[in-house]
Assembly symmetry: C2
Homo-oligomer: 200 residues x 2
DNA sequence: ACATCTCTCTACCATATGGTAGACAGAGAT
DNA sequence: ATCTCTGTCTACCATATGGTAGAGAGATGT
């Protein structure tokens, strides 16, 4: 069972960190969740910072992979492609609600950890910005600052996926039917926001 | 100077909680920031939970007031009105970046605190949903689920305002000029997302 | 048989944290 | 003058937390 414990620790830590925040989750709690002594955690990850970093890198990798696959599988039309990416992010985010919440934690951690995390995602971001720019030039996406459009799309998706409070405020419930509605509305929202305006 | 200390505690706590998270900020740190003994905090707010609650209620009230004023002062057109609200939220959010970050904390706190916070904002949310519905009926806002549209707008604004990491990822810098650009793009994004589609 | 390596554990420890107890100083009120 | 109330402080405490030291059990290689 080599690595089994390590994997279980990573999964539990991902959920707990993403759900309740890194600082609010103690090593004891994670250990209890995994069903192991705290020492075992510190054997696999020499310090809490190491564990946090490993969790973040793993999350970044998972998202990257899902997104890359969605891009390759999608059609040529930019709005379809963006929809495919959103769907790809939405799926793991729903199966594991802590995933995106985790990313919000980055801003609170040490700059070093944040830097490592960014390095992991940088190529993806850069490509997205370049892609948006070319599609704007071709008139298939509303002309705007591609950097900020990328950030806004990300903020919308992450925001809606990580703020259960907001959805609760408007009477939304986390059922499958409601979830599908939410995804549909999210996609329509983004399509409208990105569609080229008529005067070009 | 009655209440002066109390106010200073509230302000420091708002900033620190919003910036670094409730659990990561100790009473000692807040006390040091205010320049006062920890005991003085516990004199004004009997426990940390009480302080958290007070901070949240104050933030909710501030936002409510700013939004109400913006609504009253705005024109009849729904997109203009929404723009006015966004500007109203954007201003305090920029002056005090911790304000919106604080709201994200709600989901992590005890349900009781969350409930109290929601009660404060509920009327505002309900009115927004009703308003969106009527404007959709009048054909001045893209037809969709008004509850989810409200949540999506909120997620977009909050997301972009509270995720400096994302903006940094795309090379954005927090200068005044860039800030204006961001606000402009955000408003254009929301306008596009909310404008009625042409086939009605 | 022995040594080594891997993995998990129990037993501690130093520090930080939320909170209690109570002293002390100043301002009115009587 | 003394009592009381308000606001701030110092001294302390119980607990939780990240981390260290090192032992024990089982597998593996020689």
């Amino acid at each position: 069972m080599a690595g089994d414990t390590r994997v279980r620790i990573l999964e539990a830590a991902t959920d707990l960190f993403g759900l309740r925040g890194v600082d609010s989750v103690s090593l004891d709690v994670i250990a209890a969740e995994v069903g192991v002594a705290k020492q075992t955690l510190l054997y696999w990850f020499p310090s809490k910072d190491d564990l946090v970093q490993a969790v973040l890198v793993q999350a970044a990798t998972q998202l990257s992979v899902a997104i890359e696959a969605a891009i390759r599988a999608s059609s040529d039309d930019p709005l379809d492609r963006i929809e495919a990416v959103v769907r790809a992010v939405f799926r793991p985010a729903v199966r594991r609600p802590s995933l995106l919440g985790l990313i919000r934690e980055v801003s609170r951690l040490s700059p070093a950890v944040g830097e490592r995390f960014h390095a992991e995602l940088r190529p993806l971001v850069d490509r997205a910005v370049v892609y948006l720019q070319t599609e704007m030039d071709r008139g298939r996406v509303r002309r705007a600052d591609p950097r900020l459009i990328a950030a806004l799309c990300y903020a919308t998706v992450t925001g809606i996926a990580t703020e259960p409070e907001v959805l609760r405020s408007v009477g939304w419930q986390p059922t499958t039917a409601e979830l599908r509605r939410l995804r549909t509305e999210l996609l329509a929202f983004l399509r409208a926001a990105l569609a080229p305006s008529l005067g070009q």
